[in-house]
């Protein structure tokens, strides 16, 4: 870790922590219906939808609402991609997206995964980007936050049949949280150089025109990028306008936009812990959850940055100077393959840690070219279930599942009935928690196994040796946990990967959301139990440690064999001087 890396990490944490309390409070006010400056629009929406905002839903109706809304969204996004040739705003006349790719992308964006099997600038017309992808960037984020709110209501209500109204929650989150934040952020991005236009691709005459083998003109891809870029980050979506995602200078032109994008990723997931604190009337509970997210995050960031700065002995062996041990600023040094010069090592490796700790999946450097340990960090963060901040909403409800698991484990140790936030945790809640916690590793590992046992799966691998295995494990971990980043050497735009990953993304999302809402319904019906001397406090360092331990234990038990076969072997081979591509 260089001084620059430490100061960047410090600045990042300070700015993030400053935003948590005010934004968390604001989101709590929005969800309680106390923010009303768009109430005329809000009322018109409810009238058109024939929704009575005062009529609440039970957990099953809430879950079905979210499911039907997401199914219709998938169909709409599929249709836009399949019809884009006939739709306006496609100046490059890009062809209709293939059926399997369109299905994969539709599920990918509706589930907030934003895995991309396609290259944006050569696949998606402007209308598809706006009317299709941007819309689901908003709506999938709104679904995540709505479900988290429903779970919080499960804890705060007692003897209740209902956990809120999904239509009202989705509308309020979109209008009062996601749209204003995105609008402001998009304009800042545009000011820094992120493009925002509807013009055809711009041809320019290259300066060294005529020199072989360089073409004499360069065609610059254009498009409405800033508007999509903003919600891509704020909604922890991560689907890039361009193939290179946030490494592309038109998506992420300056170190300032890079910092703001990193902040935007954690903004809502971090603030929601404070929202929980407000709504439960005990701010310390929110801070404890925030600590349980922040501590593993900082450790992961330090490991990733250090590994990338240490570099790759193969680059040194090939004659490159990695600036190791000499702290001078004239070059970033380290492992620069797949990284941008303006970001260097620290701003790239920190971004990789953040985007995978949250379920964002945007990348500003190519994870497949990271060092084995530098690439292990994003993979493990994804495999922990996207609860180290996690996605908007999904991070909070994911961590609350682990909190329930933690009090259950603690209850077994001290021989008391587990309780959390004033609610007894019974057998039904534990069964639902077990399903929700185990569904993603099951999908990731079974998917990896299927891909490795079939020719169609192995055909996508591009790097030899353990790295090729890691590409597949990363893809299925990313899909099952709805992250969306990739070890992008994997050629995944094939019917096999598009369909299999599509199915896995869907169940990785809704296989967790439905049990979470069932827990919310069950908890809301229960009576509040008073705090006694025998209650395990869930706001202190002891519980934070227990919670982090539970997250790590479950994640490692599921994935250590896979990690050992992939990045760990790759690391050992790299540093013992085995340079070949032995299979």
């Amino acid at each position: 870790m260089t001084n620059h890396a430490w100061s960047l990490l410090g600045l990042y944490l300070v700015l993030l922590l400053l935003s948590v309390w005010p934004l968390g409070r604001y989101i709590a006010a929005v969800m309680e219906g106390r923010v009303r400056w768009l109430r005329a629009l809000e009322r018109a929406i409810y009238r058109l939808c024939a929704v009575d905002p005062g009529q609440e839903q039970g957990w099953l109706q809430y879950a079905l609402s979210v499911l039907v809304f997401s199914c219709l969204g998938t169909l709409a996004l599929y249709a836009v991609q399949r019809l884009q040739v006939r739709l306006p705003l496609n100046p490059e006349h890009l062809a209709n997206v293939s059926p399997d790719s369109a299905l994969n992308t539709a599920i990918s964006f509706v589930t907030n995964t934003n895995w991309q099997g396609y290259a944006g600038e050569s696949t998606m017309g402007y209308l598809t980007q706006m009317l299709g992808l941007t819309v689901q960037n908003f709506l999938s984020a709104a679904v995540g936050i709505a479900v988290a709110m429903a779970l919080i209501r499960g804890f705060t209500r007692h003897g209740a049949l209902s956990i809120g109204n999904a239509w009202v929650d989705l509308t309020r989150v979109t209008l009062y949280v996601l749209l204003p934040l995105s609008l402001a952020f998009a304009l800042v991005l545009a000011g820094q150089g992120v493009i925002q236009n509807l013009a055809p691709y711009q041809a320019v005459q290259a300066l060294e025109a005529g020199a072989q083998p360089v073409p004499s003109t360069q065609t610059l891809a254009m498009g409405p990028v800033a508007s999509q870029e903003a919600i891509k980050m704020v909604g922890t979506n991560g689907g890039g306008f361009f193939n290179a995602n946030s490494a592309h200078p038109f998506e992420n032109p300056t170190p300032l936009t890079n910092l703001l994008q990193m902040l935007a990723i954690f903004l809502i997931p971090a603030a929601l812990t404070a929202t929980l604190g407000h709504l439960t009337g005990d701010a310390r509970q929110g801070w404890a959850l925030l600590a349980a997210m922040a501590i593993p995050f900082v450790a992961a960031a330090v490991l990733a940055i250090s590994a990338e700065q240490q570099g790759n002995p193969i680059l040194t062996g090939a004659g490159a100077d990695l600036n190791i041990g000499v702290a001078h600023d004239s070059q970033p040094g380290g492992n620069m393959e797949g990284k941008e010069a303006r970001f260097g090592i620290a701003d790239s490796a920190l971004f990789a840690t953040i985007t995978t700790a949250a379920s964002c999946g945007a990348v500003n450097a190519m994870h497949d070219s990271f060092t084995p340990l530098g690439g292990l960090v994003p993979l493990v963060l994804i495999q922990l279930g996207e609860v180290v901040f996690g996605g908007v909403g999904s991070g909070l409800y994911g961590l609350l599942l682990f909190a329930i698991l933690a009090v259950f484990v603690a209850g077994l140790m001290i021989g008391r009935t587990p309780e959390y936030l004033g609610k007894k945790i019974g057998p039904f809640e534990m069964k639902m928690t077990a399903i929700a916690v185990l569904v993603t590793p099951l999908l990731a590992l079974v998917g990896t196994a299927i891909a490795l046992m079939t020719d169609a799966g192995r055909a996508g691998i591009s790097n030899p040796g353990p790295q090729g295995f890691t590409e597949v494990l990363y893809a299925f971990s990313s899909a099952a946990n709805n992250n969306g980043s990739a070890f992008a050497g994997l050629s995944a735009n094939t019917p096999f990967y598009n369909v299999l990953l599509g199915v896995i993304m869907w169940f990785g999302r809704f296989g967790v959301i439905v049990p979470v809402l069932a827990i919310a319904g069950a908890l809301a019906a229960k009576q509040r139990i008073p705090v006694t001397a025998g209650t395990l406090p869930t706001h202190g360092p002891l519980f934070v440690g227990l919670l982090i331990g539970t997250v790590l234990l479950v994640g490692l038990l599921n994935y250590v064999p896979g990690l050992a076969l992939g990045p760990v072997v790759e690391h050992l081979l790299l540093w013992t001087g085995s340079f070949g591509g032995a299979q």
């Binding site: 989705l170 490494a247 004659g319 492992n335 620069m336 190519m366 030899p464 050497g489």
Partner: protein, 198 residues
């Protein structure tokens, strides 16, 4: 305690379809068009690609790198875009793993090409000059990578190295606000400045 409504398909479909339609119009049409309008008003240059014009004609974008192969120009980062380097309509990195033999071969070949173009230069080759960028469109190199090439460009162009170094400094950006990102040199702008030297 309010009684719950019975769950029926029509009670789910009507609000789901209508809300999807309304929010699609708001977030998929109103929002991007509003951002486009405001950005075109407030930041027309940036919103249209930060184009650099010479004699009125666009010769590139300040944010997008171009390929340079002649010894009389500063070279940028290697680019892995297909089918040709710096294809700004098909961004992407090499995705070569850290132990992939192709990575070692590519880096060794780039080091050899730099050495061949400037046989007398024994300075170490900065890693960013021989590794492919993530986007394939990286407009920048490190100040060390520019310094490595000063002697070659000066010799080919018949210029004083000191004059070139001054030009490099002129096109070097420091860390933003002193603490963000890396110091860097814009290769296209440096080469445009080079052509303007007489």
């Amino acid at each position: 305690m309010n009684a719950l409504e019975p769950i029926t398909l029509s009670r789910l479909l009507r609000p789901a379809a209508t809300l999807l339609l309304i929010l699609t119009v708001l977030t998929g049409i109103a929002y991007p068009f509003l951002v486009t309008g405001l950005a075109q008003l407030a930041f027309p240059d940036q919103a249209n690609g930060s184009l650099i014009r010479r004699d009125g004609r666009p010769v590139g974008s300040a944010l997008i790198g171009q390929a340079f192969t002649g010894p009389g120009y500063f070279w940028g980062r290697p680019s892995a875009t297909a089918p040709t380097p710096y294809n700004a309509a098909a961004s992407g990195g090499s995705n070569l793993g850290p132990r992939n033999p192709a990575l070692r071969a590519a880096v060794a070949a780039r080091v050899a090409a730099l050495r061949a173009a400037d046989p007398g230069n024994t300075a170490p080759v900065p890693v960013d000059l021989v590794t492919a960028s993530g986007s394939g469109l990286d407009p920048h190199i490190s100040p060390a990578a520019a310094e490595y090439q000063v002697a070659r460009v000066a010799r080919v162009r018949g210029l004083e190295p000191a004059r070139l170094r001054a030009l490099v400094v002129q096109h070097t950006q420091r860390r933003q606000f002193g603490m963000l990102g890396e110091p860097r040199v814009s290769v296209l702008q440096l080469n445009l400045g080079l052509d303007a030297l007489r």
